[in-house]
Symmetry: C2
């Protein structure tokens, strides 16, 4: 066996790339991952809400099915991953979520979400403001009502990345800590990648799982280049001193004057506050305005946060697709698959993505639950005016 | 010459301790400084406003004289220090300050400050809101008026600390990177300090210049223990991208609903936003509330800060004395001097403090300009109920 040849080569070692590699290796495929910093990526910034129900948006009912399926698989996935990673725990916490309204507009919005949830067969319970505060005494007195969703849990995405990397390495996945420069195409078939240092890595199948960077690998033909773009999110981390614990007992979220804000309390005392949503291209700057708006909205929701230490401010990029749903499975270029475009749901969709991609890679078939997410649902972009290769890196 | 014996031993290597040591060494005294992190301390957090005029407070007219004298010495001090430090520049910027009012209360407050300034013979000019915005176009449209003070400048306190440390080392000051555990008293005279590792450093005279920690050195008799306490300040640093420069051309400050906020724009693109003022003892935690209030008030003053990268959040401790003025010169214990309690004015008072302390150490006399700041102005504390040594460390 040539060490630089594998059955499957995954470009991108974020949680989506790693879960794909881990599941492929479990099925007996010789698998490699290429990433300069495996375990990094958007998961380092994400809050880790598993919010299939409270993140439901109009027009995303198809995605809802995949989200719910992945949420259903989470407990078993977590148990299996812990074992496979040699005991690394991902801090899965079945705490539920409370979505609250702070003014009449918020309440109307939340009432509509509640109705949509019911039409979609989801479980959620309408609570008065008083009932919300009984559940979470730190909530602002002005909270006017809320939705209790006992099925929307959380996980720690940084630990998830660590565990997946450990599981990959224990399953024999070869991890190349390097930049993939361009896709190698041989006789109209994806055949591997060229690294920045000139090394060629050959592979029977290539999975492009590079998050928001997935559209920027050189050498990918125009018509299969994934239509993903970066959507910036700024996130804060506070810490809850022992004297204040438990500060919140479940995820609390709201829409405050049109901005979404959430507080995710971890068992270890971390409290994650997120997130801005900014269309600024490849910018990952933490700005005065982003931090200000998060603190302002979180403070309106839970005034007592003022006393908590602010331990981290950070920005990351969500890989968004045109319909907010992921691109999973084969492309029009034989040998090239996609696992990208997970947008706000990458952490939630990790279990199902791993399963789907392993099936694709071993059988060539996209399983039923992923049919709606085939890359072919997007028309090819108009041909580029230039005939030169499209690669941008 | 025994290396562990000096004429002068300065406890505390912040800017006050270092300027004292530098000036003492220049006068031919064998000088040492003891500090685990020389060049650290409150100057690492301070914004560096040299605000003799805009920081004028009722009841602090005596301090005003010292502040003005130090401000007067600044340009020559900076030039001499640069030379002595082998070219380290402290980014002294004679930019002036604009203090503005955002509502009717602020305007009334600022009008009173203006009247006090005039009675004190200080130069400041009342401007309309429109005139303020002509000077600083980034100011909020709601600014109702302001005071232009062309004499209140700025310096970069971190560079000041770096330059003073370099000047000390070039002047032959011995720097002990260690914790002073207790004062050594021999025959009712300060004789040196004991380090945490058991080493004794002997000295003819000891200067206690440990900022807010000055009251905590072990072995200092009750009646000469300086009455200083820590006052926490949280400070942010933003950066002004080249495309936005010059964002502000001078220091801009205001009182926003009772909180003081200021923005200090440095030539290098740093914009310092400060500061909270919190009586919380030895706490140096950066809190969600502190950062929120600074961003909220700065945003109200200069809305355009939202686009600027937030590069640092930090908290430090100002050493406050009962009358907000420093304690300079000999104590009732022969051989023990104080140079502490500089509170909000440590950076401003650095030049005059160095000169005053050098005179005290060489002649035993407190110069005229420092007479009002002798430690003896505070009555001794009541005797401790216990007869054990006072040392707390």
């Amino acid at each position: 066996m040539h060490p630089r040849t594998s059955d499957v080569l995954v470009v991108g070692g974020g949680i989506i790339g790693l879960v794909t590699a881990w599941r492929a290796a479990q099925r007996g495929l010789r698998t490699a991952v290429v990433d300069p910093e495996p375990g990094g990526g958007a998961a380092q910034v994400a809050a880790g809400m598993l919010a299939a129900v409270t993140e439901l948006h109009y027009g995303e009912e198809t995605l809802l099915g995949l989200n719910l399926e992945s949420a259903r698989r989470y407990p078993d996935f977590v148990a299996e991953l812990r074992e496979a990673a040699g005991g690394v725990d991902v801090a899965y916490r079945a705490c539920g979520t409370l979505a609250v309204a702070l003014d009449a507009d918020d309440r109307a919005h939340l009432r509509e979400l509640h109705a949509l949830q019911h039409r979609s067969g989801l479980e959620s319970e309408w609570l008065t403001g008083r009932e919300c505060r009984r559940l979470e005494p730190m909530l602002a007195p002005g909270v006017r009502g809320g939705l209790r969703v006992d099925g929307d849990h959380q996980v720690d995405p940084r630990r998830l990345a660590t565990a997946l990397l450990a599981a990959c390495e224990r399953a024999g996945v070869v991890v190349h800590r390097a930049w993939a420069e361009r896709l190698l195409v041989v006789r109209d078939r994806a055949a591997g990648v060229l690294l920045k240092d000139g090394t060629e890595l050959a592979a029977g199948q290539v999975v492009l799982a590079a998050g928001s960077l997935s559209g920027r690998l050189g050498g990918v033909p125009d018509e299969v280049l994934p239509p993903v773009r970066p959507v910036k999110g700024q996130v804060l981390r506070l810490s809850v001193p022992r004297a204040y614990a438990p500060f919140l007992s479940r995820t609390v979220r709201a829409v405050v004057r049109g901005s979404h804000v959430y507080l995710v309390p971890r068992e270890n005392g971390e409290l994650v506050v997120g997130a801005t949503s900014e269309e600024l291209g490849w910018d990952t700057t933490v700005t005065a305005g982003g931090v200000y708006e998060l603190l302002r909205d979180a403070h309106e929701l839970v005034p007592g946060i003022t006393e908590l230490p602010l331990t981290e401010t950070r920005a990351g990029l969500r890989p968004a697709s045109p319909d907010n749903a992921p691109l999973l499975g084969p492309t029009a270029l034989p040998g090239l698959h996609l696992a990208t475009g997970h947008y706000r749901n990458g952490v939630l969709l990790t279990p199902v993505t791993g399963d789907v991609m392993a099936t694709v890679l071993t059988t060539g078939q996209l399983p039923e639950e992923a049919q709606a997410f085939a890359p072919a649902r997007f028309p090819s972009p108009a041909p580029s005016p230039s005939l030169s290769p499209v690669g941008v890196s």
